[in-house]
Amino acid sequence: MTFMPSRPLSVQIAALLAALFFGSVCNAQNDEFQEAQKLFRGGQYAQALERVDVLLKSSPKDARSRFLKGLILTEQNKTAEAIRIFSALTEDYPELPEPYNNLAVLYAQQGQYDKARNALDLSIRTHPSYATAHENLGDIYAKMASQAYDKALQLDKGNAGAQTKLGLIKELFSSSGKGVKPSATKGEPVEKGATVLTAPVAKPAPAAAVTPQTPPSAPAAAASPPAPAKAVEPVTTKPAADQSSAEVLKTVYGWAQAWSNNDVSSYLAYYAKDFRTPQGESRSEWEASRKVRIAKPKKIEVGVEQPKISVTDAKRISVTFRQNYNSPNLKVTGMKTLVMVKNGDRWQIQQELVGS
C-alpha cells in the first residue's frame, strides 16, 4: 500500500511553444508542423509521427519537430525513444526548460526519481519561473518521500511505483491536450490563457526582433496597491508578537513597493547581509541579476495578498503570501515565503522561498 499522493502525481508534460525562438521557419514547413500538431492533439499519433518524420528529414535539427516527436513517442509509451529525443534536445538546447521537464516526467514514470529530480533542477535553472517544473519537482519529492516512508514503515514498495505510472499517464493525456494551444500565426507567443507560467524562454533575442503581444487588457491599475493592514491574519495573540508582526508586514509591503517602483537600491536594502542567495551565488552576482530584472521592465507591479505570519522567535518571523507579479510581458501568481530576521530595529529578508 502506498500513502502518497492525495493528489495524483500531477506531472505535466510541458508544451513547447517554440515558434518564438526558432526564428525563421518557412511557411510551408510551418503549415506541415501545424498539421502534425493537430494530428497529435487529435490523438492520431501514428499519422502525426509520419508527418514529423518527414519534417525532420528536411531539417533534422529542428527543435520544434523533435520536441513534438518526443511528445508523440511519450503518448505511444515508447519511453526509451522519447527519453533519447528529449535527452538530445537538452544537449543541443541546454537553455530550454521543457525538454528537461519532459525528460524528468519520463524518468519519474520509470521510478528513477533521482534522475527526474536532476532534470527538473536543470529545467528550473534554465528558467526559474517555470511553474510546471516546480510543481513536478514538488511531486517528485513527494514521491521520493513516499518511498522513504514506505521503507520506514515497512510497507509494500511495489505498489507505489505502479501508482505513479498510472497517475502519470493520465496526466500526460490531460495536460498535453490543454497545455498546448494552437498558435494562430507564426512568431506569436502563446495566447495568454493557455499556461501563463510556461512562458517561452530565455534566449534573449534582440529586443527589436520580438514584439510581445501583451493584451492590453491587463488591469494595470487594479493590480497591487498594498493591502490594508487588516488583511493580516496574525497567528499569535501576544502583544509583543503583534507588534513584530505589524513591523514585518510593513516591511514586506515596503519591499513590494520598492520592487514595483523599479527602485533597485531600496529594494536591495530589504535584504539582510547574510541573505541566502537562491543558488549559493555571491551577493554581488545575485545583486547584479536582480538589478537587471528590477530596473528593466517598464512597469512592474508586485502585489502581496493574504499574508500569513509565522513567528519562530522574537528575531525571526516568516511571512507567506500570494505574490502577484505583473509586468507588461508577464503575469505570474504564486506563493512566496520571506524569512525575516531582525537586525537592530529593522526587519530584513534572510531567505526567499518559492512554492506552495
Partner: protein
C-alpha cells in the same frame, strides 16, 4: 524583449519547504520531557566505543536533526543519506528522510508526516526518535558510578546495566575491581514496560541477573537477529515474590530492520545486531552480571567504597561466626523472613544446630565475592561467592548466592542458596 519573470527567480533550482514547519519537527523533538531545549553536544568526541564503525548511526541521526533545527535542510538530507548508506534498514532514518523530502512539496507539522500512514508504526518511530535524542542529550556523570556495582569479582570482566527509562544498556569494565564506563547502546524493552510479574505480560523484569547461556544465531528464528543471551530471570528474589514467566533474553533485531522502537519486545532486552555482536564478545556465560533498573543512581566512587566496606564487613562477620562454632552468633545473621529453597528460618536454624553439634571444627573460606545493590531498593544486596567449606566430618566447595536485607543499621540474610 521578454521580461524575465520574477516569481520563481529566488531560490531557483532548490524549491524550499516552508521552513517554519520543519523547524517545528525539530522543536517537537527538542521538547521531549527530560531533554529540554539544551544544546546537543558533540558526543562523538567523548564516547569511546570499541570497533567504532565508520558512521555511528545514532549520532549521525542526531546530527541530522540538529541540521534540521538549524534550518540546514540540504545538509540534513545529505547526513541522513549517509546514515542510510551504511544502515539501509534504519527505519527511523527513512522516516526523517521522508519528512525532509516531503517538506519540499508541502509544509510539515510533526515528525513522521507520512500521509495516511497507519498510526502505530509512526508513533513507534517517533518514540524511537525521542529516546535516541534523549539518550544523546543526556549527560553521563563521568566522575560517578552506578550505586548498584558495589563489588565486582575478579572473574567478572564486565557488568551490564540496563536503564529502562533511557532505553540504554551500559557496559562497564572491571578494572581492578572498579567499574569503568566503556560504552552504551540503545535497547528495546517490553511492550508493556517493566516490572514483570507473570508469563505473557510483555514486561521486562527489574533486578540483578546474569547471563546464563548463549544461543547462536543459526538455532534461532530471525526475530532474534544475530544471537541471544538468556538471563537468570526469575531469580531467587523474584520467586520469593511470586513472580513468574521465563525466557528473558538479551537478543538482536530481525534482519528487516536496523532497530526496534523503545517498547516493542515481549519483555526481552533487544539490541541492534551490530551492537549485540560487539557486546557478545564481552559476555561470560554464568558470570557477567546484568542489572535491569528504572533509572540509575550515580554516586561518587567513595560512596560505593563505603557501602562495599559495610557489606563485606557483615559477610566477614557471618563467615567468622560460622567458623567459630558459636551457633547463636551465626544464626543472628539471618533475617526473620529468611528462606532457603523451601526451608523456613526455623527449619534452617534447627538443621544448622544439629549439624553443628556433631562438629569439632569448621573452616570457611570465601573467594570471588561480588556484591550488587538491588535496583529500586537501597536495603537489598545480592552477594555471591565461591565457598570453600571444610569441617571435622564434611568438606565441600560450592558457589553460593545470598540476598542481604538491611534492617535498621544491620544487614541480615534473607535468602541463601547454591548458585
Amino acid at each position: 524583449m521578454l521580461a524575465l519573470p520574477d516569481l520563481h527567480s529566488v531560490n531557483a533550482g532548490k524549491p524550499r519547504p516552508l521552513i517554519t514547519a520543519v523547524i517545528t519537527i525539530a522543536l517537537l523533538l527538542w521538547a521531549t520531557p527530560g531533554t529540554g531545549a539544551q544544546e546537543v553536544r558533540s558526543k562523538n568526541a567523548t564516547k569511546t566505543q570499541p570497533n567504532t564503525p565508520v558512521v555511528e548511526p545514532e549520532s549521525a541521526l542526531v546530527k541530522t536533526l540538529v541540521e534540521i533545527r538549524n534550518n540546514r535542510l540540504d545538509e540534513a538530507l545529505i547526513e541522513v543519506n549517509t546514515v542510510l548508506a551504511s544502515y539501509p534498514n534504519f527505519r527511523l532514518a527513512h522516516l526523517i528522510k521522508g519528512d525532509l523530502l516531503l517538506s519540499r512539496s508541502r509544509p510539515l507539522k510533526e515528525l513522521g508526516e507520512a500521509p495516511n500512514a497507519p498510526r502505530e508504526p509512526v508513533e513507534d518511530l517517533r518514540e524511537e526518535a525521542h529516546a535516541r535524542l534523549a539518550r544523546y542529550n543526556r549527560e553521563r556523570p563521568t566522575d560517578r558510578v552506578p550505586k548498584f556495582l558495589v563489588k565486582l569479582n575478579a572473574e567478572q570482566k564486565h557488568a551490564l546495566i540496563v536503564d529502562t527509562r533511557q532505553s540504554t544498556l551500559y557496559v562497564f569494565e572491571n578494572r581492578n575491581g572498579e567499574p569503568y564506563y566503556l560504552t552504551d547502546y540503545y535497547v528495546t524493552i517490553g511492550k508493556n514496560g517493566v516490572d514483570k510479574h507473570k508469563e505473557g505480560d510483555k514486561r521486562t523484569p527489574l533486578g540483578v541477573y546474569h547471563v546464563t547461556s548463549n544461543l547462536p544465531r543459526a538455532k534461532l528464528p530471525d526475530l532474534y537477529g544475530s544471537g541471544a543471551y538468556p538471563i537468570s530471570y526469575p531469580n531467587e528474589f523474584d520467586k520469593r515474590e511470586g513472580r513468574g514467566g521465563k525466557g528473558i533474553w538479551l537478543h538482536g533485531t530481525p534482519s528487516a530492520t536496523y532497530s526496534r522502537p523503545p517498547r516493542a519486545s515481549d519483555g526481552c532486552v533487544a539490541l541492534t545486531n551490530q551492537d549485540l555482536d560487539i557486546l557478545g564478545k564481552s559476555l561470560q556465560i554464568g558470570i557477567t552480571p546484568v542489572i535491569i533498573s528504572e533509572g540509575i543512581e550515580w554516586v561518587k566512587p567513595e560512596a560505593v567504597t563505603a557501602l562495599r566496606k559495610e557489606l563485606l564487613t557483615e559477610v566477614e562477620a557471618w563467615r567468622k561466626d560460622w567458623a567459630s562454632l558459636n551457633i547463636d552468633a551465626y544464626l543472628q545473621h539471618y533475617a526473620p523472613g529468611f528462606t532457603s529453597g523451601s526451608q523456613s528460618l526455623d527449619e534452617w536454624k534447627q538443621q544448622k544446630r544439629s549439624l553443628n553439634a556433631s562438629k569439632t571444627w569448621i573452616k570457611v573460606g570465601l573467594k570471588n565475592v561480588s556484591v550488587f545493590l538491588y535496583p529500586g531498593r537501597n536495603d537489598l544486596a545480592v552477594v555471591a561467592f565461591e565457598q570453600n567449606y571444610s569441617s571435622s566430618n564434611l568438606s565441600n566447595q560450592m558457589r553460593k548466592r545470598q540476598y542481604w536485607l538491611r534492617e535498621k543499621a544491620s544487614w541480615r540474610i534473607l535468602y541463601e542458596g547454591s548458585a
